[in-house]
C-alpha cells in the first residue's frame, strides 16, 4: 500500500564518518567491519552506517535508538546540518546531497523545520519573535509573519503568551514555542530531535497526543527521533531501530514487537507492555451475524450451525443493531415476533483502536464476546477472551495483520 506512494524522503546508503580517514573507514565498512574495529584501525568514528529508508507523506517515522546509536546524526544528515560522507538523500525526488549552499538553505526555509531536544529558543526574543524567526529570515513582511506566527501559536495552545520571554515559560510551554516556530514556516516535513525527551512524563504524554492530533489535521511528514521505546510505539507509524550507526530493523510498531529481526531488537522490546500497544483491531475475529430483517429462524440456524449461543444482529449496511441469544430467538419463533423486538440492544462496543489494556474490564464482564465497530457503527468483528490472553502472551497466531480487509474466521469459540 505504502510502496505505491511517492516517498517524501528517500535515504539510500547514507554513511557519516567522523574523523580524518573517512575513505579508508568507508572501505572497511563495506568489508563489514564493526564500528569498534574501524575506530581502532583508523581512529574514525562511524556515525551512521549505510542507512537506507523511505518516509512517506503524512507519516510519523520514528528513528529510535539508545544514545550513541547515531539517530541524532542521521536526522541532521537529512537537512545537512551534518554533511554526509557518502550516500544519497532525496526530498520529493530532489537530491539534497548535491545541492549548493543556496539550494539547501531554501530547502531548510521552505521544506523542513526542526524541533530540538533542548528547545533552542532565542532567549533575547519574545515568544512571538521566536515563532516568527523562520519567516523573518526569509524576508516576509512584518504584518504577514506576525499573523502566521499567531496562527502557529494558537495551534499549539499558546495564545496570550506572545509577548513573554522563553525563560518565563515552563519546559512544556517552551517546547510548544519550539513546535510553533517550526510550524510557522508551514514546512512539509518536521524533523523532531528528541523533542519531548526533556519534558516530564505527564507533559510528554500530552505533547505526544497533541502531535498525533496536529499531524492528523495538518498532514505533515514527521521524522521523530527518540530513545524512548514507549514513545516510539505510541506515536510511530513506522519505526527504524538503530544500533551503533546501523538501522537494525524498520517496521510498524506491531512488526517490531511481534517479529524482532534479531536478538538486539528482541532484548529491546521484551519489557514492553503489549497491552498498551496492541489494540482491539489486532485481535478482532470475524463475527457471525444475522440481518435484522431476516427472521429469527435464520438466526437460530446460524447459531446451530456454528455452535453459538448468541449472534449479532446487523442492518443492511452491516451496522450493529443488537444481539440475540438462542433463547430469545426461540421465543421469537414461537410468538412470531420480528428479531428487532426480542434482541438485546444495550450492547457494549469498542472501536478498533481501543488498547487491550482498556479492554480487560469489558471483556471480563461481558456475557457475550465484545463487539468491535468502526466510526459508522459497522460491525468489524468480535473480541474473545482467548485472543486477548493469547496476544498478551506474544503469540502471533492471535494477531491480525493490521488493516487487512479479510479477517480470519474465529475458529475458537467460547462456550457461553
Amino acid at each position: 500500500m505504502e510502496s505505491e506512494k511517492q516517498a517524501k524522503i528517500k535515504v539510500s546508503s547514507v554513511t557519516k564518518i567522523f574523523g580524518r580517514s573517512s575513505k579508508k573507514a568507508i572501505q572497511l565498512l563495506k568489508e563489514g567491519k564493526t564500528k569498534q574495529e574501524i575506530l581502532k584501525s583508523t581512529g574514525s568514528t562511524v556515525g551512521v552506517n549505510q542507512a537506507s529508508f523511505e518516509v512517506y507523506p503524512g507519516e510519523i517515522f520514528v528513528i529510535m535508538g539508545l544514545s550513541g546509536s547515531g539517530k541524532s546524526t542521521l536526522v541532521r544528515l537529512l537537512n545537512r546540518l551534518i554533511e554526509p560522507t557518502s550516500g544519497q538523500i532525496f526530498i520529493d525526488g530532489k537530491d539534497v546531497v548535491s545541492m549548493n549552499k543556496e539550494e539547501i538553505r531554501e530547502v531548510r526555509r521552505k521544506k523542513m523545520s526542526m524541533v530540538f531536544q533542548r528547545f533552542a529558543l532565542f532567549p533575547h526574543k519574545t515568544v512571538l519573535q521566536n515563532t516568527e524567526y523562520g519567516l523573518e529570515i526569509q524576508g516576509v513582511a512584518k504584518h504577514e509573519r506576525s499573523q502566521k506566527a499567531f496562527e502557529a501559536l494558537k495551534l499549539v495552545g499558546l495564545e496570550g503568551y506572545e509577548n513573554q520571554y522563553p525563560d518565563q515559560l515552563s519546559g512544556g510551554m517552551q517546547q510548544r514555542v519550539g513546535l510553533a516556530r517550526a510550524l510557522a514556516n508551514d514546512p512539509d516535513i518536521l524533523l523532531m530531535d528528541e523533542a519531548f525527551s526533556a519534558l516530564d512524563p505527564l507533559i510528554r504524554k500530552d505533547m505526544q497526543d497533541e502531535l498525533i492530533e496536529l499531524q492528523g489535521s495538518m498532514e505533515k511528514t514527521i521524522v521523530f527521533i527518540t530513545h524512548d521505546l514507549d514513545e516510539a510505539l505510541r506515536i510511530g507509524d513506522r519505526i527504524a531501530l538503530m544500533k551503533d550507526g546501523n538501522i537494525v530493523q524498520i517496521g510498524t510498531p506491531e512488526e517490531i514487537l511481534m517479529n524482532p529481526s534479531n536478538e538486539y531488537v528482541e532484548r529491546f522490546v521484551e519489557d514492553v507492555d503489549l497491552s498498551k500497544v496492541l489494540t482491539a483491531g489486532h485481535i478482532v475475529k470475524r463475527a457471525e451475524t444475522v440481518q435484522v430483517d431476516k427472521g429469527a429462524r435464520l438466526a437460530l440456524k446460524i447459531m446451530k450451525d456454528n455452535g453459538l449461543s448468541t449472534v449479532y444482529v446487523v442492518d443492511k449496511q452491516n451496522r450493529l443493531v443488537g444481539a440475540v441469544s438462542a433463547v430469545e430467538a426461540s421465543k421469537a419463533v414461537e410468538q412470531k415476533l420480528p428479531l428487532a423486538e426480542v434482541m438485546e440492544t444495550n450492547l457494549k462496543t469498542v472501536d478498533t483502536s481501543t488498547l487491550l489494556v482498556d479492554l480487560f474490564d469489558d471483556v471480563s464482564q461481558a456475557t457475550i464476546p465484545v463487539a468491535v465497530v468502526d466510526e459508522q457503527n459497522r460491525l468489524k468483528g468480535i473480541v474473545i477472551r482467548g485472543a486477548v490472553i493469547g496476544a498478551l502472551a506474544g503469540n502471533d497466531t492471535y494477531i491480525n495483520d493490521f488493516g487487512a480487509e479479510q479477517l480470519p474466521p474465529s475458529d475458537e469459540r467460547e462456550a457461553l
Partner: protein, 282 residues
C-alpha cells in the same frame, strides 16, 4: 652560542622598518595626526563649553538614570571635588583622550572580534597579536609613535588604543563563541545566512560580554594616561607626571585622586549599560 650563530640584528631591522615607514607614509601619519588631534580638541572644546556645574549635574543625572542614586551622589560629589581642586580642564582633556581611544578601540575591535570569531585562521592570527599588544611594555611603542605622530595628544591616543583595544576584541570573540551550540544549530536549521545568524542571534546574545570588554578597555585607557603624558598628552596624567618629577607628593595625590574618581564614574556607568541591556529581556 655566540660562536655558532651571530647575533640576529632584530634591532637594526626594526629601526630600518620604522625609518622606511616614516619616510614613505609621512602623509598618511600626518593625516591621522591632524584628524585625531582635531577630534580630541573638539571633544574638549565641546565639553568645556558647558559650565562645570551644569556638566556635573548632567553626569549626575545620567548616573542616576543608568545606575542608582548612590552612584549619582558619588558622581556629584566627585566632580564637584575635582572642580574645587582646580583639575576640571585637565579632567576634560583626560576624558577626551580616553573616549577617543576607546572609540577607536570599539570601531576597530568589535568588527575584528566578530571576524576572528567566524574564522579560525583570522582568530589564530589575531590572538597572538593581542598578547603582543598587552604585554609589550608601553614605552617601547611610545618611541616610534613619536616618530610617526610627533609629540602631543596623538601618540598618547595611539599608545592607549594599543593597550586598551585587546579586551574589546577578546571579549567580542568570547561572547560570540559562547552562544550555545544548539541556538546556532537552530539558526542554521531554519536557513539563516551567516549575516542573519550573527546579527539576529549571536551579536545580541554576546552584547553583555562585549559591553564588559568595552568597560575593560575604558579602564585600561585610563590607566595609560600617565604614560601618555610622557609623550606630551595633556590632562590629569600630565599633572601626576609633573608632580612626581618635582617630588610634590600632595599635588600628585590630588591629581591621582581625580583620575580615580573619573575611573569609578566611567566604570559604574558603562558596567550598568551592559546590565540594563541584559536585564532588558525580563
Amino acid at each position: 652560542m655566540e660562536g655558532l650563530l651571530p647575533k640576529l640584528p632584530i634591532a637594526d631591522w626594526i629601526d630600518t622598518f620604522v625609518d622606511w615607514l616614516v619616510s614613505n607614509f609621512e602623509f598618511l601619519f600626518e593625516g591621522i595626526a591632524v584628524g585625531l588631534e582635531g577630534f580630541v580638541e573638539g571633544i574638549v572644546a565641546g565639553l568645556g563649553f558647558i559650565p562645570s556645574i551644569l556638566l556635573t549635574l548632567i553626569l549626575g543625572a545620567v548616573a542616576w538614570k543608568i545606575c542608582n542614586w548612590k552612584i549619582a551622589l558619588f558622581t556629584l560629589i566627585g566632580l564637584f571635588l575635582i572642580d574645587n581642586l582646580g583639575y576640571w580642564g585637565n579632567m576634560l582633556e583626560t576624558i577626551a583622550l580616553v573616549l577617543t581611544s576607546v572609540g577607536i578601540s570599539v570601531i576597530l575591535g568589535i568588527p575584528l572580534g566578530i571576524w576572528a570569531s567566524q574564522s579560525k585562521t583570522v582568530g589564530s592570527i589575531v590572538i597572538p597579536i593581542l598578547d603582543f599588544m598587552q604585554t609589550m611594555p608601553a614605552f617601547v611603542y611610545l618611541l616610534p609613535a613619536i616618530f610617526f605622530f610627533n609629540i602631543g595628544v596623538v601618540p598618547g591616543v595611539v599608545a592607549s588604543v594599543i593597550f586598551a583595544m585587546p579586551p574589546t576584541i577578546r571579549l567580542t570573540i568570547l561572547g560570540i563563541t559562547q552562544v550555545p551550540q544548539d541556538l546556532i544549530e537552530a539558526t542554521e536549521a531554519f536557513g539563516s545566512t551567516t549575516k542573519q545568524r550573527l546579527v539576529k542571534v549571536q551579536i545580541p546574545l554576546a552584547m553583555p560580554t562585549i559591553m564588559a570588554g568595552i568597560n575593560q578597555s575604558i579602564m585600561l585607557a585610563l590607566s595609560m594616561v600617565v604614560i601618555a603624558s610622557m609623550v606630551g598628552a595633556p590632562g590629569l596624567g600630565a599633572d601626576v607626571y609633573r608632580a612626581v618629577t618635582q617630588l610634590q607628593t600632595g599635588t600628585g595625590f590630588e591629581a591621582g585622586l581625580a583620575i580615580v574618581i573619573v575611573a569609578i564614574i566611567l566604570d559604574r556607568i558603562t558596567q550598568n549599560i551592559g546590565k540594563t541591556k541584559q536585564g532588558g529581556t525580563a
